[in-house]
């Protein structure tokens, strides 16, 4: 007889499972958290190395000479920008044409679903200017992109100046095998999105009217984005996290680090400089902080630099930000120009897209990384808890309940609970999720009429209102259905909900590990422990504290702590509101998936457990 079909053996195994379930779950949870925190410990990480043969170990001597001229161009750009009061399109076109590039402009306009807080605009209209440097001897099949944003005010002038300086220097070289596109975009991410959609003739987001681009340079192999606010910098910060938590190929980070080392420039990631004392507590906390910052940034699903939108088109891109802090040693524009020259020249040597190195990784520091094979077990341990609980419930559902008082008690067990009693909470929870997804944006006009709030606040507060209204659901659901509420009922519902949560978290972790892990850390204990028999008040409070909304709140506070800008409770709350509005806006503008995921899938799942808690 088989192991599971033999009733004695089966009873032994299932009794083992039932007896040890809670201890194993606790051990798994602690092990998962410990594994994750241990990833930042340096002996458990690997040193980064260049995987692509074409970008091999030899480096050329960079000869970019004109940092000063680039800064002068930047000042001219700033003056013209102030004169025009926006983007000086004509001046840019004239300058780029004088340098010998093929210049094209693209105008775009976007309708925002509701005005964003910082800029209070409903419609965004702008122009992108881009110049293409044609490779002198190569066919026009591949391209590289260098982009700098045109920001209002006094920021990022030096970036545009350096871009134009590099364009002039690159124009006089003959060794380019790919076309180089120099892009100056207006309105930051909205401009980049419009440019990418026009370039690739795609239409990912609606409400976007763009004139399709006239000039094309082939398929883009890699992109670099500059952000420079000062004439001199003390360090360069690398930003990797992109839309929906997508990361560029690790080789791009290795390339950046290699050139920083060669030119003697300080380079940082997450704004933190690497420490060499990994065996002390401070060293470990420093790496853990860096890694947690990366996890939080990845989980938010926002593009943290202009490069973030390129990643969706399988273009490996990174943003490099110049930081001017209070250090003695300053790097001038010529060195930064040389860094970019070296990086672009190395990317020029590429024969195919970057694919040799890792696409899924976490970086506790710029020279150390953790690959997916090492960090996934942490998530796996957390999912095991859900599966163990589900198995336990399955076993309980399978065995008939022992006859306790009298023979009549047997009556309820053989009949499985009606499908309706399980399906109803599921349907109602998902309807609530749909309401959370659609209503805030749709009902903003109505809310503004009736309440003295701005549109953004209306959207956010409506979302929070619907979220809280969902908490009242169990009391109302039970009025709809009569004559249910069996012991089996909630068990079946919990089984379904556990499996649903496990699949949901698993799929999320595959795409965006950080988001999946953070959700798992808070949702798994709630899902595993909730039954109708635990003390209601205490567990209700606990459930609310572990709900997705509060998870976002904790993440906001944690993020501010890690960035060494701690906030008070009130400020934190305002930040939380702005995070929600930004999430909804990101979804509408760039197709970020975090908001729909949380509203349509995670929140209903959590509501199911809330329903189980209040099961009668």
């Amino acid at each position: 007889m088989g192991l599971l079909s033999d009733p004695n053996r089966r009873k032994a195994i299932t009794s083992l499972l039932t007896r040890l379930n809670t201890p194993i779950c606790v051990v798994c949870y602690l092990a998962g958290i410990a594994w994750f925190m241990g990833l930042a410990f340096e002996p458990f990480t690997l040193r980064t190395y260049m995987s692509e043969n074409a970008m091999g170990s030899t480096m050329v001597e960079e000869r970019f000479p004109s940092g000063e001229r680039a800064l002068a161009t930047a000042r001219e750009f700033a003056a013209h920008k102030k004169k025009v009061g926006g983007m000086p399109v004509d001046w840019l076109v004239k300058t780029m044409r004088a340098q010998g590039l093929e210049v094209f402009t693209q105008s775009f306009s976007r309708n925002l679903p509701f005005p964003d807080e910082s800029k209070e605009r409903f419609v965004v209209r702008g122009t992108n200017v881009y110049g293409i440097l044609r490779a002198p001897r190569a066919p026009r099949t591949e391209a590289l992109v260098l982009s700098a944003p045109c920001s209002p005010g006094n920021s990022n002038n030096q970036a545009v100046g350096l871009l134009l300086g590099l364009a002039q220097y690159f124009r006089s070289q003959i060794y380019w095998a790919k076309d180089i596109i120099f892009l100056v975009n207006e309105h930051d991410l909205i401009g980049v999105q419009a440019w990418l959609e026009g370039y690739h003739h795609t239409n990912i987001t609606e409400n976007c009217r763009i004139t399709s681009s006239l000039g094309r340079a082939g398929s883009i192999q890699a992109a670099l984005s500059l952000e420079l606010n000062s004439d001199v910098v003390t360090s360069l910060d690398l930003v990797l996290e992109g839309l929906n938590g997508q990361l560029p190929n690790l080789d791009l980070a290795n390339l950046f680090h290699a050139f920083c080392q060669k030119l003697g420039i300080l380079c940082t990631i997450q704004g933190k400089l690497q420490r060499s004392d990994w065996d002390t507590v401070e060293g470990y906390t420093h790496s853990a902080q860096t890694m947690l910052l990366m996890v939080l940034k990845q989980a938010s699903g926002r593009p943290w630099g202009e490069h973030g939108l390129f990643l969706r088109y399988h273009i490996e891109a990174a943003s490099i930000r110049g930081v001017n802090s209070f250090r003695q040693y300053k790097t001038d524009a010529t060195s930064i120009g040389r860094l970019f020259e070296g990086m672009v020249r190395k990317l020029n040597n590429l024969l195919e897209r970057l694919h040799q190195s890792y696409f899924f990784y976490l970086m506790p520091s710029l020279t150390r990384f953790v690959s997916i094979g090492y960090y996934m077990p942490a998530f796996g341990l957390l999912t095991t808890i859900l599966l163990l609980r589900a198995l336990d419930l399955w076993v309980h559902l399978g065995t008939p309940t022992p006859v306790t008082e009298d023979g009549v008690g047997e009556g309820e067990s053989p009949s499985s609970p009606g499908l309706l009693s399980v399906l109803t909470p599921v349907v109602i929870s998902h309807l609530t999720g749909v309401a959370l997804y659609t209503l805030p944006v749709l009902s903003q006009e109505m809310a503004v009429e009736h309440f003295p709030v701005s549109e953004t606040e209306a959207v956010v507060l409506t979302a929070i209102a619907i979220y809280t209204a969902g908490l009242a659901l169990p009391h109302n659901t039970h009025r709809l259905i009569s004559g249910e509420g069996t012991e089996q009922g909630w068990r079946v519902l919990k089984l379904v909900a556990l499996l649903y949560l496990a699949v949901l978290l698993g799929c999320t972790a595959l795409i965006n590990f950080s988001l999946g892990f953070i959700l798992a850390v808070t949702l798994v204990p709630a899902a595993a422990c909730v039954t109708p028999h635990v003390p209601k008040a205490l567990s209700a409070v606990a459930m609310v504290l572990l709900s997705p909304g509060c998870t976002i709140l904790y993440c906001v506070f944690l993020f501010q702590e890690l960035q060494e800008v701690p906030v008070s409770l009130a400020e934190g709350w305002m930040l939380f509101l702005s995070v929600i509005s930004q999430g909804i806006l990101d979804h509408a503008l760039y197709g970020s998936l975090v908001y729909p995921l949380l509203a349509l899938l995670v929140y209903p799942c959590w509501l199911l457990f809330w329903n189980i808690l209040f099961w009668k």
Partner: protein, 390 residues
């Protein structure tokens, strides 16, 4: 006294009389020596197997050897040059139409007179083996053929990326050392070479000559099995490594060779010791019939015509004396019957084992296993189940 004087004059007169005769004998011996060395023409097959810009150094390697070989006298019609990629006209080359082999661009090994026979995607394992064995379609032009005969000395130079027992062609296929050894055996059986010098500059190059089994082959490699062949120097203006170490020092050595040089193979073996090359170059001479010390570099790298000016007339009607060992070998070869290798060695394929007539008891292991299984079965289920079996 007078007697003594007479004897002296006689001796001196005799000396002067015999001198021309001795001189004449010297020329006779020299003339016989003329035809005693084996080869009458030289060929070279130079192959670069890697493509892509970062493999610039392999093309530079081959072109350096090509340059030396041409300088020492082998004409283009006797050189088969196979380059897998075009570095001189690569878009990334900041100095177009040049391939440099020295830092600071001292030496451009590309130029107007470089005749590439197999270029780009034509450099494949199949084409290489067809060139060696001569099995080319009738439409192949002469420049793409190795038209060697049994008096040709052939230099074969391979470079690229290799491993233990294989050499990579064009990032898509490999040639193994067994295939190469069989190709050389085909060449020997078809009498396509007199002597062969095989030089390979790849990682673990010594593994490529381990399997040779045809006579008259001498092999050199840049590194032993398990070692990597390293590249020499990067050029900061071009941005790639220009040469591999072994070929760099080989080129330096060859620059000192001129057509009349008497340097021999033992000097070649000393090129690039471990201190310069980091890897240990190896060589194999056991298949070679002559002593390496008596083999001149120019026997393989140059096309040296033996010219000696004389005013004497030499009688060539007498059959010349070949050296004893070569004669015996030739006789041996002529006497043994030539046959083709068995196409289908049936006896090897079908292993006919004689049927065992008498019964042998089964292996102890099988017995033990079965008894263990039976023991477990009976222990678990009790003896009473015995009746169900029997």
């Amino acid at each position: 006294m007078a007697k003594f004087l007479f004897v002296t004059i006689c001796t001196v007169a005799n000396l002067f009389a015999f001198l021309p005769v001795i001189h004449g004998n010297n020329f006779e011996t020299k003339a016989t020596q003329f035809f005693s060395s084996g080869h009458t023409n030289n060929w070279a097959v130079l192959v670069c197997t890697s493509r892509f810009w970062f493999n610039y150094r392999h093309v530079a390697n081959v072109l350096s050897v090509y340059r030396s070989v041409k300088r020492l006298g082998i004409p283009d019609s006797h050189i088969v040059l196979m380059l897998a990629d075009d570095m001189a006209c690569n878009h990334r080359n900041p100095k177009p139409a040049t391939v440099f082999s020295h830092k600071n661009m001292e030496l451009n090994v590309y130029g107007d007179d470089v005749e590439v026979d197999y270029r780009g995607y034509e450099v494949t394992v199949e084409n290489f083996l067809r060139v060696l064995t001569g099995r080319l379609p009738p439409s192949t032009p002469r420049s793409k053929r190795l038209l060697s005969d049994d008096r040709s000395n052939i230099l074969i130079y391979l470079t690229g990326h290799g491993g233990n027992g294989f050499l990579k062609f064009q990032d898509s296929e490999e040639i193994s050392n067994v295939e190469l050894a069989d190709a050389f055996e085909q060449m020997w059986q078809k009498r396509r070479y007199n002597e062969l010098l095989f030089i390979i500059d790849t990682c673990q190059g010594a593994s490529m000559y381990e399997r040779f089994y045809s006579p008259n082959i001498m092999a050199l490699a840049s590194s032993q099995v398990g070692e990597d062949s390293l590249s020499h120097q990067p050029d900061l203006a071009i941005g790639v490594h220009l040469m591999d170490r072994y070929t760099f020092y080989l080129l330096e050595f060859l620059e000192d060779i001129h057509p009349a040089s008497q340097a021999n193979m033992n000097d070649l073996f000393k090129v690039c010791p471990k201190s310069q090359c980091v890897s240990t170059p190896g060589h194999r001479t056991d298949l070679f019939l002559r002593d390496p010390g008596s083999v001149l570099i120019t026997d393989f790298f140059g096309s040296v015509r033996k010219v000696e000016i004389t005013r004497e007339a030499i009688n060539l009607t007498n059959p010349t004396e070949l050296p004893q060992d070569l004669t015996s070998l030739r006789n041996e070869l002529k006497s043994e019957a030539l046959f083709y290798v068995d196409q289908l060695p049936v006896a090897d394929i079908i292993h006919q084992k004689p049927k065992q007539k008498d019964w042998h008891p089964p292996d102890g292991f099988i017995l033990g296993l079965w008894s263990l299984i039976l023991l477990v079965f009976f222990k678990t289920y009790g003896i009473k189940h015995l009746k169900h079996i029997f």
